[in-house]
């Protein structure tokens, strides 16, 4: 018996803002990611490989807030975080604030398997990525017009950077 669930984020669009075409586009990409993970599991593969297969497809799609198409920081950069955990032995890997790795989930997994640590951040994580053979991906790959527009709309509300960070406890 096998089982798989995926998500591509929550709440970016209200019902009113979602067109039938856009909804179909999201559903098709979700189905593609679901199928990729399900195939691994149906063929007898590992859960770890299944979750990576599904997440990579969504990281590579500009529709979702991860990898290509990630939202932008106040300074207009893509700054990526990812984590992965294996239920067999509770081994875990995580990265944060990475700007040059195309598929952050794969780097998180290398932290899990090839480092003595659980979480690496920023330049250190990127140095680790280089040492493990990850290609340096330019920022232009990640930045999409949709996310640039979103950042511009936010700034047009005359928010300050401080306003953006006020919250949450």
């Amino acid at each position: 018996r096998w089982s798989l669930a995926i998500h591509g984020g929550a709440g970016t669009l209200s019902r009113d803002a979602m067109t039938p075409e856009k909804e179909a586009e999201y559903e098709a990409m979700l189905q593609t990611a679901l199928d990729a993970g399900a195939k691994v599991l149906a063929d007898g593969g590992d859960a770890m490989d299944a979750v990576k297969a599904a997440v990579i497809i969504m990281e590579d799609s500009p529709l979702f807030n991860a990898g290509k198409g990630a939202v932008l920081t106040w300074d207009g950069d893509a700054e990526l975080d990812a984590s992965i955990m294996d239920g067999r032995d509770r081994s875990a890997g995580a990265i944060a604030g990475v700007r040059t790795v195309k598929n952050p989930i794969l780097l998180a997994d290398r932290v899990r398997t090839d480092s003595p640590h659980v979480m690496l951040v920023g330049e250190g994580a990127e140095q680790f990525a280089l040492e493990k053979g990850f290609a340096v991906t330019p920022q232009s790959y990640f930045i999409t017009p949709m996310r640039l527009d979103a950042l511009e709309r936010m700034k047009a509300k005359q928010l300050s950077a401080l306003d953006v960070d006020l919250k949450f406890g």
Binding site: G8, G9, L34, L41, L72, T73, D81, S83, G97
Partner: protein, 159 residues
């Protein structure tokens, strides 16, 4: 944010989450996804969880680990009582109740978002307190579905 959780045919589970965070973030802000225990957790004894939403609230609640810990407690209790009533296996309603309960805790603090989880029994569960969540699930029992909107009317500003 994107994520996936899986149970394979050998009974092993895994969870993965990846995100760009929130629009306009600065100061090296880190949300829920890269923090093991808040947005991602997997334990063969309990479940695998991946989350999306206002990360700071997920950090404060420790959402992913909290769900797994509660499920593990239920399973251990069921195992203890199984000899008398034969009900060791986790029921999907129990997993849904626990996921909803933890997400209600997030909501009470002012946060929103959602989680996906799978259990050792093969249940694939969603729980979210936003208008919708981009989501999908497939199982060896023939489930194959994707969806976006739910029945609640609250709109999140979470990217």
């Amino acid at each position: 944010t994107v994520g996936a959780v899986a149970l394979d045919q050998k009974g092993n589970m895994a969870a993965a989450t990846s995100t760009g965070g929130m629009t306009g973030k600065r100061w090296g802000r880190v949300g829920d996804a890269p923090v093991i225990g808040a947005g991602t957790y997997a334990d063969n004894r309990a479940c695998a969880v991946s989350a999306t939403g206002w990360g700071e609230y997920f950090l404060r609640v420790g959402v992913a680990h909290e769900i797994c810990a509660r499920l593990r407690g239920v399973k251990e209790f069921n195992a203890l009582t199984a000899e008398s009533d034969g009900a060791a296996a986790l029921q999907p309603e129990e997993a849904e109740y626990i996921a909803d309960s933890v997400m209600a805790d997030v909501k009470d603090l002012g946060g929103d978002g959602g989680v996906i989880l799978v259990t050792p029994e093969g249940h694939a569960v969603f729980s979210f307190n936003t208008t919708g969540m981009y989501r999908g699930r497939a199982t060896s029992d023939g489930v194959n579905e994707v969806a976006i909107f739910g029945s609640e009317d609250k709109v999140s500003s979470t990217p």
